[in-house]
């Protein structure tokens, strides 16, 4: 606890009080007030070792000692308001889920250059264009120009 206070005092001294609060808000401490998950992660992160930060700003922590085994790697999402597990890119997924001990930064070089696509989070439910409508559904794009029958067009004879 003392280290936390010491760190805070040090940060205020370096950045000034105004910048310090800006950084607090950026890091999502304001969101912690309403979001218990984030608060818990923040508390959990105290003393954790920052292993890496990915392109989306997700921070990956590890803490071996004094942590329950299986909870010793975790992520703090870069997006503080709408976060979900699909925001973890594949290179970090293995490390985070204890599939491998190689960090995402190490694995990034394995990504195929020519056909590897950029990671995209799962947008399901995030808006109409991200909702899949089955083939017969009225909102399916293929269904939009569906007509029951094609009427006879009178032509001049």
């Amino acid at each position: 606890m003392a280290s936390v206070v010491k760190g805070v005092v040090k940060a205020i001294r370096e950045k000034g009080i105004r910048n310090f609060f800006n950084v607090l808000i950026e890091d999502g401490y304001a969101n912690c007030l309403l979001d218990g998950n984030l608060l818990q992660t923040k508390i959990h992160s105290i003393g954790g070792k920052l292993v890496g930060v990915d392109q989306f700003g997700n921070k990956y922590y590890e803490k071996i000692e004094n942590t329950q085994y299986g909870r010793h790697r975790w992520v703090e999402y870069g997006d503080k308001s709408r976060y979900n597990a699909s925001q973890v890119p594949p290179e970090w997924h293995g490390w985070l889920h204890f599939i491998t001990d190689h960090t995402g930064d190490e694995l990034l070089m394995l990504k195929p250059k020519r056909y590897g696509v950029a990671h995209k989070q799962n947008y399901s439910g995030a808006g109409d264009e991200y909702i899949y409508h089955s083939k017969g559904h009225a909102l399916n794009p293929g269904q939009r120009d569906w007509t029951r029958y094609q009427p006879w067009q009178p032509t001049k004879t």
Binding site: R148, Q150, P151, W152, P154, K156
Partner: protein, 748 residues
């Protein structure tokens, strides 16, 4: 878990005791059990020996309405199926005996209308004193045979066969069109193992191109050879065959070739897996999404029984329905695939042709008023009504009554010729009914090409020819009948020779026991039709074709409306009525020749498709197609059947008889019926046989009461009545699939 099941069973309404009691047959035969413990032979042997002797179960109802007909008592034998004795005639197979006993044997290759192949081995049953399980479909039942269908040996045999069949079957049910109505799927659920032991690679087979109708995914094929046997036996084309041996075995057309049969769509139905599926229906719908409507087909005069499968307002597909007397369980390709024409070129609004020659949509009120006004301006005898080939009896009687009320008696039905004879029903019906053709031993086809005019009748003739080696003689233009036939000549000359006894074929005809003479309805359009009919009647008289027990004088009609129109008396008063008409009421008539119609004639076209006649029409009334209305049709053998609406009609279209009824009110001579029941009461007064549906009403008076006449016969040869089998009516002419068929299958 068990607790919840118990709770659920206690709460359920059906008494559990009844469900579990041995008296419930369905429960016994349908119970699906996993026999994992029987994978080991020792365990299964132990299970077999330990099993207590089962009590004799109560009799069950035969499967699928299986009937036994025992001609003489000494031909009957008795076998025991699961301990229950059944009497069956000699020559039945074990599988048929089981069906009579009410035990459904799983099968893939066996089909009751095809020859027995016995290669799928799914129908293995245990027979006492037989060392191995026997394939019941190929094993004749012997007297006193003790057949066991429910023993561990039989179950294990099925399970093993199923495992072998699934070895090379792709597990692609989710993307397979057969999914949900697949025999392999159902039977592997019921009889297969609950786990697989297969770890090797599956084989794959190149898909074949069988034309625009049948889609093939040959990797799914289980080599039951039903399609091969169907093609060679029923369809009569040697297109399909089996190539290779062992795991290299595959179905194919020896060389790259399309399947050129008018019955090819039936291989889709008989294929027990998804190897042969419908190409137009591919990936369109699942069978459980669709509503089936049992109706009849109107593309030809046979009136095949069909089921129209619809999803929402769309007709998705057409499949056959069993009717032993008419179409057995087949339908022609036109019947099966012309349904997409129901969605194209539809008339959906009443339209009036303006002075500039363009059609303009108007309301029903205006359109009816315009027509009523025109009708009052012309002389009554200049009003002519022509019923189309898809008209139902209700609308035809309404049209006739309406025009009669307006003072005209010129109502006719297209295809019946300008001066039809409707007095004797035997003169226009297939008097030997379609099923009765199987008893004939000599056929004489006069100007009739049943293969393209009525494929179901042709299939019957072929069946007879195959079964009894009946002789077929044919008079008419050269054609391709798919059975052995003798082409006697092309025109009435040959007919006269036979009638006068100068032709070598006469001896065959005279020695025949049950000769069947089939006259094509194309002759109705000839001017010398009376002479030809007289000649044929002479032949029938000489060959004793018309007897109390056998009527071999047949007319094969072309269109669904023809028989009912003649029964209702749609006969024009004057011969040249179309030429002198000033008001022409076309009720779906597209094949009538309109060239003789004078330019100042007012033509009303009432129909469901913008086909040929709309281009001459002055006003268009949209009506509903046969899938959208309830109507009575009489088929060529005189059997009245009813269509049932499957989908709602399009736009502003209305039923034909309702339009006529509305027009009659606007025109001031109101018809006295407002409902289908009332219009049927009117039909009862005119032709009561049209109301006894699904019953064949035979012609009571035979043709020989007609006085003899000498007619002049022209010597020009008979013409084919149907030029393009795939496009004969307004619906099939609007169909894209039929257009593809005629493009790819008819070019020779």
């Amino acid at each position: 878990m068990g607790f919840f099941v118990l709770r659920a069973l206690q709460r359920s309404r059906t008494p559990l005791s009844r469900l579990l009691s041995p008296q419930n047959p369905t429960f016994q035969s349908r119970w699906i059990t996993s026999t994992t413990d029987l994978h080991k032979p020792e365990a299964s042997a132990a299970a077999a020996s330990e099993a207590p002797r089962p009590e004799i179960p109560p009799p069950r109802t035969p499967v699928g309405g299986a009937r036994v007909h025992i001609s003489s008592p000494e031909d009957a034998i008795e076998v025991f199926v699961d301990g229950y004795p059944v009497k069956i005639p000699k020559g039945m197979t074990v599988l048929q005996a089981c069906e009579v006993a009410g035990v459904d044997i799983p099968r893939f290759c066996y089909h009751s209308r095809l020859s027995i192949a016995g290669n799928c081995r799914m129908c293995l049953v245990e027979v006492e004193k037989s060392p191995k399980p026997v394939a019941s479909c190929a094993m004749p039942a012997l007297p006193g045979m003790k057949i066991k269908t429910n023993t561990p040996v039989a179950k294990k045999a099925r399970e093993g066969v199923m495992e072998f069949l699934l070895m090379n079957h792709p597990l692609d049910c989710p993307i397979c069109d057969q999914g949900g109505e697949c025999d392999l799927q159902d039977q592997s659920m019921a009889f297969g193992s609950d786990r697989g032991r297969f770890t090797e690679m599956k084989r794959s087979v190149v898909d074949k191109n069988l034309g625009p109708l049948v889609k093939t995914v040959m990797t799914r094929c289980i080599q039951c050879t039903r399609c091969v046997r169907f093609a060679t036996e029923v369809a009569g084309v040697q297109d399909l065959g089996m190539l290779g041996r062992g795991s290299g075995e595959e179905i194919g057309t020896y060389v790259e070739k399309l399947m050129t049969s008018e019955l090819s769509g039936n291989v889709i139905d008989i294929c027990p897996v998804g190897a042969l599926t419908s190409k137009p229906f591919a990936f369109k719908a699942r069978n459980w999404e669709m509503k089936g409507t049992e109706t009849i087909d109107v593309t030809d005069a046979v009136g095949s029984n069909i089921r129209v499968d619809s999803r929402g307002p769309e007709v998705m597909r057409v499949v056959p329905r069993l009717n032993e007397d008419i179409n057995e369980e087949w339908i022609s390709d036109k019947t099966r695939f012309f349904y997409d024409g129901l969605k194209r070129q539809r008339l959906n609004d009443p339209m009036i042709r303006g002075p500039d020659g363009r059609f303009k949509s108007v309301s029903w009120r205006d359109a009816l008023a315009v027509v009523a006004e025109v009708m009052h301006q012309v002389k009554p005898e200049e009003i002519v009504g022509i019923a189309g080939q898809l008209s139902d009896a209700e609308s035809m009687i309404a049209l006739k009554d309406f025009l009669n009320k307006m003072g005209s008696n010129n109502v006719l039905c297209e295809g019946n010729g300008i001066h039809p004879h409707a007095d004797l029903r035997s003169n226009f019906l297939l008097n030997t009914n379609i099923g009765g053709l199987e008893r004939a031993d000599v056929f004489l086809l006069v100007g009739s090409q049943p293969r393209i005019e009525a494929p179901m009748v042709n299939a019957r003739i072929r069946k007879t020819v195959r079964a009894t080696h009946a002789k077929v003689a044919y008079i008419g233009p050269p054609t391709d009948l798919n059975y052995d036939h003798q082409h006697l000549g092309e025109g009435p000359q040959t007919l006269l020779e036979i009638a006068e006894g100068r032709h070598p074929f006469c001896s065959t005809l005279l020695s025949a026991k049950n000769p069947a003479i089939i006259i094509g309805a194309g002759i109705f359009e000839r001017n010398d039709r009376d002479a030809i009919f007289a000649a044929v009647e002479t032949i029938a008289k000489h060959s004793k074709a018309i007897r109390p027990d056998w009527n071999g004088f047949n007319v094969l009609l072309l269109n669904a409306a023809q028989a009912a129109a003649l029964d209702l008396g749609l006969i024009p008063e004057s011969k040249n009525c179309i030429g002198s008409a000033k008001f022409l009421y076309l009720m779906g008539a597209d094949d009538v020749n309109l060239e003789g119609v004078s330019n100042d004639a007012f033509v009303l076209y009432q129909g469901h498709h913008g086909d040929r006649s709309v281009y001459r029409a002055n006003i268009i009334f949209p009506s509903s197609a046969f899938t959208e209305k309830e109507g009575t049709y009489e088929n060529t053998e005189g059997c009245a059947q009813q269509t049932v609406p499957a989908v709602p009609t399009v736009g502003d279209a209305r039923d034909d008889w309702k339009i006529v009824r509305a027009l009659s009110e606007v025109a001031g001579s109101c018809l006295p019926y407002d409902s289908l029941a009332a219009i049927r009461a009117r039909i009862r007064a005119v032709a009561p046989n049209l109301l006894s549906t699904d019953e064949r009403e035979p012609a009571t008076v035979s043709a020989d009461v007609k006085p003899e006449f000498q007619y002049n016969m022209s010597m020009s040869g008979f013409k084919s009545a149907v030029e393009n089998f795939y496009m004969t009516d307004s619906i099939s002419r609007a169909s894209k699939i039929m257009a593809q068929c005629s493009a790819s299958l008819l070019k020779k």
